[in-house]
């Protein structure tokens, strides 16, 4: 069995039978758009915060999915290191790239919303936002590290080590930011951002938003993973072409 056919077999979907348009991703985008429409036009504005509160639907959903994506990266890194499995490494990489996009969304929507509520663009004592910022740095370091290594096996090992150490780091950052915040401000804010009791329409929109974003996140990871397969296939064909 030649290595070309081996790698084709390893790819979960044969390239020639893959449809040109990614239906899953298209559906996901449609879902997100639909939720937006509902959020903007069909959900009542919140009394005190006004229109800015609508960002809440994006911000919180993106945050949840960002953390899920990053957790997938950490978990898959562990698997990749333990079993030396290339697929786990590829999934970790895909999840990290999608994760940083969602983290960026959180970090941009956060200040926009925050400016409305707190009057400042950034609040260091806002624990979740600060933690998200540092998580962004760790994921960025992960992606830069991957870009700086050419050897496949080394890249997988090194980025897995970084991901696992990063996972160990997060509780420490969380604790440190908490102690920092507790020192500066007792629990702050006139308006508590996450109110446990939302009126039913807003709650529905919120739940729908989380579902749509999660679907979108999963579709993105899937699309990126499939791109990863193709890219690795192309690279191995290239390598064989050079060796011949």
């Amino acid at each position: 069995m030649t290595s070309v056919s081996q790698s084709a077999a390893a790819a979960s979907v044969a390239p020639t039978t893959r449809p040109v348009f990614d239906w899953v991703l298209g559906l996901a985008i449609a879902a997100v758009a639909a939720v937006y429409v509902r959020a903007i036009y069909f959900t009542p504005a919140e009394a005190l915060q006004g229109l800015a509160q609508k960002i809440y639907y994006v911000h919180v959903a993106a945050a949840i999915d960002a953390y899920v994506a990053v957790s997938i990266t950490a978990l898959m890194s562990l698997v990749a290191l333990w079993l030396r499995d290339q697929r786990a490494d590829r999934l970790a990489e895909s999840s990290a790239e999608v994760g940083i996009v969602f983290l960026s969304v959180v970090l941009t929507t956060g200040p926009i919303w925050g400016h409305k509520i707190w009057g400042t663009w950034w609040a260091w004592w806002e624990m979740r936002l600060t933690l998200t910022l540092f998580l962004w740095f760790v994921v960025a370091a992960y992606l830069v590290l991957r870009g700086a290594i050419e050897d496949d096996a080394m890249r997988a090992r090194y980025s897995a080590v970084l991901a696992i150490l990063g996972a160990l780091l997060i509780p420490f950052i969380h604790l440190s930011v908490y102690m920092f915040a507790a020192r500066l401000h007792p629990m702050p804010v006139v308006l508590k951002p996450s109110q446990p009791s939302l009126p039913s329409e807003m709650l529905t929109t919120f739940v729908l938003s989380v579902c749509a974003f999660t679907f979108f996140c999963a579709a993105l990871i899937r699309a990126r993973y499939r791109y990863g397969i193709l890219r690795d296939l192309a690279a191995s064909l290239d390598a064989e072409g050079n060796a011949a």
């Binding site: 290595s3 081996q6 790698s7 496949d152 096996a153 191995s236 390598a239 064989e240 060796a243």
Partner: protein, 248 residues
């Protein structure tokens, strides 16, 4: 005490990098005092095989045993191996003596200073032992590197193109050193391009092509000229010739 296990035993060792199989199912064993000369073109896998025997790489299949002990799992097996490679593995800011003594300490050699002095004297570099390595020529650095590799009196010495960069005096010192090592019971694996140099020291000769050992000979029954010719044919032809009588 009778030595029942071979000095080094390589069993079915393979090593793959990604999709490339650099070493493919190599088997051999050497007893104390044997010297295996390993010939082959660039990219044949000789250096990779040497690194596998040294414990720098893990085999993807098979195992290496030194003195009957598994190299992978037993640190005392690693203590029996000495490696000499292309790079000197020295610290340029330190003196030859400091480099060799550091190596001696890593191996737990009892009389560090004495062992280092002996090793440096054997390689005829004792007079330059106290100037930084940086100040020495490539050839002299190579001698220090060899002294470093044998200070702990290893049972197995692995040499990767050791004659590169050595002048006549250095080459002679090295050949003497190798004979001395063989007679004191060490097993040697010598990787070299130079068939003459290899055959001068070796008791066995092997040729590696594309990760496999394609031919093994006992040097006692070898005709050097014929072997040279066969080797050339093998390397240029890329396959094992059926008829071995090729004109020189």
């Amino acid at each position: 005490m009778a030595q029942t296990s071979p000095a080094v035993e390589v069993s079915g060792v393979s090593r793959t990098f990604g999709r490339r199989r650099a070493v493919d199912g190599v088997d051999f064993s050497l007893d104390a005092g044997d010297c295996l000369a390993l010939f082959g073109p660039n990219g044949a896998g000789k250096t990779t095989l040497l690194r596998l025997i040294a414990g720098l790489l893990k085999p993807t299949a098979g195992a290496v045993h030194v003195g009957g002990r598994s190299l992978r799992s037993d640190a005392t097996a690693r203590a029996q191996v000495g490696l000499i490679s292309h790079q000197s593995m020295l610290y340029r800011a330190l003196t030859p003596r400091e480099n060799v003594e550091f190596a001696a300490r890593l191996y737990g050699v009892p009389d560090v200073h004495g062992a280092a002095t002996r090793a440096l004297e054997r390689m005829r570099i004792a007079d330059r032992a106290d100037a930084p390595v940086r100040a020495l020529s490539r050839g002299l650095q190579q001698r220090v590197s060899i002294a470093r590799a044998i200070v702990h009196e290893p049972r197995v010495v692995l040499l990767d193109e050791p004659y590169t960069g050595l002048d006549a005096a250095g080459g002679a010192a090295l050949t003497d050193m190798l004979h001395l090592l063989r007679s004191s019971g060490a097993a040697l694996v010598l990787v070299t391009h130079n068939v003459d140099e290899g055959l001068a020291v070796a008791s066995r000769a092997a040729v590696m092509l594309a990760g496999r050992v394609v031919r093994t000979d006992d040097c006692a029954t070898l005709d050097a000229r014929a072997y040279q010719a066969d080797y050339r044919a093998l390397v240029l032809g890329g396959s094992v010739p059926a008829d071995l009588s090729v004109p020189a």
